[in-house]
Symmetry: D2
Subunit: 434 residues, 4 copies
């Protein structure tokens, strides 16, 4: 197939963030129409965040179109005729942008933690396996799916292409910051993307930003910082995440213990038995998960039933700040007291940690090497961002970590027959409050 | 319980449309926390519209908070100390506003059509039946649930209260126009609500608008008109709606014909047998419906399986304009040809109609009596809106109706062995195109 | 000079309405830098409107860049490669768009009325006369200034070009509706311009709109209607306009009566003597006018001094609705009473009228022939808008006129020594109130 | 007069930033109507910034209403019934907020520098002197004007009131950041003011912010930082400022040298002779200044004439970065060369510096003591912001300074008869570019 095959008429999607998403390439249109891509409509972009910010009900479908549109604008409006840019890579970039999140499952974070999955593996598998997406991509060439997968996996040889799709200032981050801000309604997350796009320049092995756009980039980094701590790591969201994780743990444990479910969890079998295959994975969307949570409310197992009810009806855990260094003793005492009170601490007393590094320059050898943002100076030099920006330098490399201890206040309040244990628990928890 | 019991600290919800939703009354906070209200998170506000406008993934939970907030602002900021307003009705209004959509099920429009349900009946049943919502409301007084239900049913004796909750310019409409515009991203749906709220005035038996705000009201009516035709009646949305309706029809038909489902549709039994009880209804949320659509894709019945796949993967029907007066003959011929081609026209050749009346003055005796919008003139007179506004007069009472004929282009394209029938169908359909 | 001569690097202006205004053509950049164009910074777009809507302090410079940018987007993003469009007209269109308001003076409306001027004549004179603008334009070709002037005067032979610059849906109107809404802060004035631009199509002798964009056009027409009555014809603005007009009348009258000004009105001489030449006109900006108003506050003439103080310190006239058919008698009586009270009715009792026609189809032979908006139907037909749109049909051709009678309430209130006359005046005026 | 005297009906101003400005107090309405307050309409908020950002044409009138409205919301919506707040101070705060910028003249920054004026002195003088504003304020009480002046001068005894009006997070800053962002159209300047207002709490001697609002405050500080460097210190704006300053210098110098002006600068006499009195100051608005600049274009003095033409027609100076430590020698050489070339370096070779301190904690004894922002912790403690916020700590106390050297590139380019000097100048200047 001609890779440049165009639709007879451009299609547009009305998008609240980018106003319009424009599709002219037949291949992009067809990818959007595949079952695997449409499935992203049934997976929320921000998992449990809608329980904190009720507006955050948008799906990964939504975000994927946005990332595609940003890359399209960079290529068609800015890079098109510039040195270092080879327009033969255009369609590859567009496909990688559109499909970069294809392997996400429902509530990815919890699922990946409990079942030791990696959504990136599934993205690769969907693109290269026996899927509708793969069939569409192969119309360009037999090795095209593999190339798309490589770009997403950051192993593609042209590092300029890789850095366009994945870097500390890529289309993915630019879309989600703005989109998540739009749907939650928070006032963070705004920065002048149009300006940043206009000053992006292709270099031999990376995308750089003209120095005149440095302040827009600073603004983007501050937006990112605020979104992480104000939205993504919101303690109420994490509370829902903790409960979700414990539901999955419990269900797996019950299955492994040959518990007899009233309603057979057929969709989960291969997952529970660590034999998950692609076709089963693709059937796990949020509707299916929420369906099971509803029917599991009627299970005999009190922990599974209680946790599912908590999640569906938003009866979340409370929390206090927790310092793993100084408060381990308190935590162990609480464990002991919870057991005495008949509340299983494995499910009802949970430490959860978040940490974020707002920006970092290149530190070779670090666990997770991050490509720094580079500025193109008026004289043609390339300089790393934190050397030019005082604001960015001030926060560069500063990792911030936050631990919280989650527990069900309502269960504690109801410990009427165990007055002494109850008092001890309440005292310990309030001593931990600051 | 003291009806004015307040939270120790005001709670706020971040809302993209109204910036913040403020809750000070304990009763409102507790209503939001009930299982029946949280269930609204699992029902999309705009049903199948997200298949046309990908941003429209917001839930009825979202909208219900918004309607509450508008009513709260009208009462606390505008009506509070005014003549004709009795602040003892405040909590009643807030509860009615919050709960007015409580009985909505998933994809209400289709469900109500196929199963002859009425979401308003369920709203009444939830408020007055054995539910968490009812228990919270009864803390105010034994007859309080009934009063809330009456306000929503428009039978409450104080007509001022009724007109605040339901009229041609009520909080419900003002919220959804703005909210649906925000999430779809369309540029219609904007009007100066802050202005309208500021010029609302309570009268003995209705809410009126000061004449100085007439132009803001005109703008609201135009927004409403545009939203109906550009968003709510969008032909692609209606195509999805048609398929959804046909899925429900088919499943019911199969059940009545004692078809043996691979996966027992337990959630649907009482529905299929016209014996739906409240507790079953409350379990029917969108997750459950989409779960069934997924498993039904694997059913033997080719129609059920095909339609479910179409809905989930957005392989919708095409359409042409249809004139029921002049094209009945064409439609009958197409019916005949579809049968010949082996495509069941009962499921695959569907006429769907939309109609809207943007505004109307009072026409006693009409099927659906609409309370007109009244202006309060500087001299104290009350005048009906269309007598003052040329723009509104111009469109007043003008009902617009639109019919379309939906069909699966892909099935027709694949009729390779029936070339003649195929050609005839294609010719008839294209003759209908304008 | 090469008409396509480009700047070495694109220049951008940050614009609140269009985000960025892009300039790549050297000729455009140089036109912006001329003294005649920079002068537009000293002339407010909306004249006296800032006395009603304090945000409306933006200049014609601001608007002119906006109109240029809209035309640039239509040509570069939509028309570029299409049939009927000859890209050789591009620069001509851009120049005409940028310069279309070049001849505006300060508070144009009043000046034109009092001194029988026409800003369009001055636009022509500046473009074709001995000016910096003319010198820049002549670098393209000796007849280029004339062509630009013809496009603005609507006499250019290529009617497609003319209709792009001036029609019932042109870049001028689209910019000012949005811009004036932005700066005043009103919620009218919003419509989906991006959508309208995308569906504009060049035809042999006009620009048409694809039928799929009809609703965006309806929205535009409603915006226009609301802006006229809510902003442009606001009675407070008209009150300031009335005073301004009377100041100019008075100063001219004094000059003609050989009144000896303390401060010689040198800038006004040629104007007062009907011998205004281009170079004098170009020196008349708002700073100059306001400077004179300030110094005239100290003139001996009580009327000139009073009116100038009123304008500068916003002590405006009050108003009542006025019906020229039924209230002429009242008006004559008031004239008489004002004279008795020692208040000159020529300056202090003023009828002012506004009228607008929101949209009209083509009515040959009418005083002001308006080119209708044409839709391009899917089958290639061209249809006039009001035949397709019910909303537009409803308001099409409906001219609305409004008359008000302005007077200084404070002077009347101070008529203490003439109690009877005062009472009669007050009674007559209040009888006119509705 | 009763200080609580209300208007019979609330007045509203449509405001693009705060949607509506609400006025209920008669005293506020009357202050707005005074000549001294209306004069603020003729003074731009951002001086010469409109020559860089064409949208920045808004006046100090605009901003003053905004500051008033923010204070009104804090008092009426948040402080009203709280401990530590005495509502008797309400009207005092509203008046101080409205009038805090009353003494600003046109292009304050340059005027104050050249003529050693201080707009704060004039604010005091207008409030306490023989003015319309003073007359209105005295209706509340004889000492009321003095109290208003003290609040603005920060000497008022109730430090809570002072900190409400002037602090590192006061209504003044919150309004101008948002307003200037709105009119320029930049994407900086956004923060969640509604959130900040809601978490402000009165304490005995200061306003504090509840810790839960810390991130909104961080966002505000970052907005402030970006606005300073991106907008307020924009090098093009400073170039216009440099020229303006030099015009004023030149005119004063000519006057002192008994130069005979063609057009007598009557408005400037007392200013030039360091005998400026209040009534003369009040007559100096931007219209007057721009009027003189226009007529001075025709003066014989080539420097005055040239500089005025540059300012009016935006033919600004170019600039290079300048390091006062290492580049003094270069600067002296350039001075020498400019003289040789016949270009007066006193007017055409200007170093201009900007510096800003984004936030600082309290440093007793410093030249300009700044009141730090204090957080109110959940346990009732008060903590200084930079101790809680890592981001703020990172930039706290870090003063940033920037120097630039301005010169007229066009004059240098035209030095054709002095080829060698020209080359030397060009070489020196380009060596300074980085």
């Amino acid at each position: 197939m001609d890779p440049n095959s165009k639709l007879s008429e451009e299609k547009v999607f009305k998008d609240p963030v980018h106003r319009y998403v424009h599709v002219r390439d037949k291949i992009i249109w067809d990818l959007i129409g595949t079952a695997e891509f449409q499935r992203l409509r049934r997976i929320r972009q921000l998992g449990t965040t809608y329980l904190t910010f009720h507006g955050a009900e948008h799906s990964r479908f939504n975000h994927s179109l946005g990332v595609y549109e940003i890359i399209r604008r960079i290529i068609d409006d800015v890079f098109h005729d510039r040195e270092h840019w080879n327009n033969d890579e255009r369609l590859l970039c567009l496909c990688a942008a559109l499909l970069h999140d294809l392997g996400h499952g429902p509530f990815s974070h919890s699922f990946e933690k409990v079942f030791h999955l990696d959504h990136e593996d599934f993205t690769q598998a969907i693109i290269t396996g026996p899927t509708e997406v793969n069939a569409v991509l192969r119309r360009i060439g037999d090795d095209f799916p593999k190339k798309v997968a490589e770009v997403i996996a950051k192993t593609y040889e042209n590092k300029l292409v890789v850095s366009l799709i994945s870097s500390q200032i890529d289309a993915d981050r630019m879309d989600y910051l703005q989109r998540d801000a739009y749907y939650t309604g928070v006032s963070y997350g705004h920065f002048d993307m149009e300006r940043i796009l206009r000053v992006m320049r292709p270099q031999e092995d990376q995308v750089v930003i003209k120095q005149s756009g440095m302040h827009a980039v600073e603004d983007y980094i501050m937006s990112r910082y605020q979104m992480y701590w104000q939205v993504y790591f919101h303690p109420v969201t994490r509370s829902a995440e903790v409960i979700l994780t414990k539901i999955l743990h419990r269900a797996k444990q019950l299955h492994q213990g040959h518990y007899s479910f009233k309603h057979q969890p057929a969709h989960f079998y291969s997952l529970f038995e660590d034999e998950l295959v692609l076709q089963d994975y693709l059937r796990l969307d949020e509707s299916v998960i929420l369906y099971y949570f509803q029917v599991w409310q009627d299970e005999e197992d009190p922990i599974l039933s209680d946790l599912c009810g908590r999640f569906l009806n938003r009866r979340l855990f409370q929390y206090i700040e927790f310092n793993p260094n100084s408060q381990m003793k308190m935590w162990m005492e609480l464990n002991h007291l919870f057991k005495k009170a008949g509340i299983d601490p494995d499910y009802y007393l949970v430490v959860d940690s978040s940490s974020d590094l707002p920006y970092d320059f290149y530190r070779p050898g670090e666990e997770e090497e991050r490509l720094p943002i580079h500025l193109l100076m008026p004289n043609g030099d390339i300089r790393e961002l934190s050397r030019e920006s005082e604001i960015v330098e001030a926060i560069s490399g500063k990792k911030r970590t936050d631990h919280k201890l989650y527990f069900p206040q309502d269960l504690i309040d109801r410990l009427s027959s165990k007055r002494k244990v109850k008092e001890q628990i309440i005292q310990l928890l309030s001593s931990g409050k600051n």
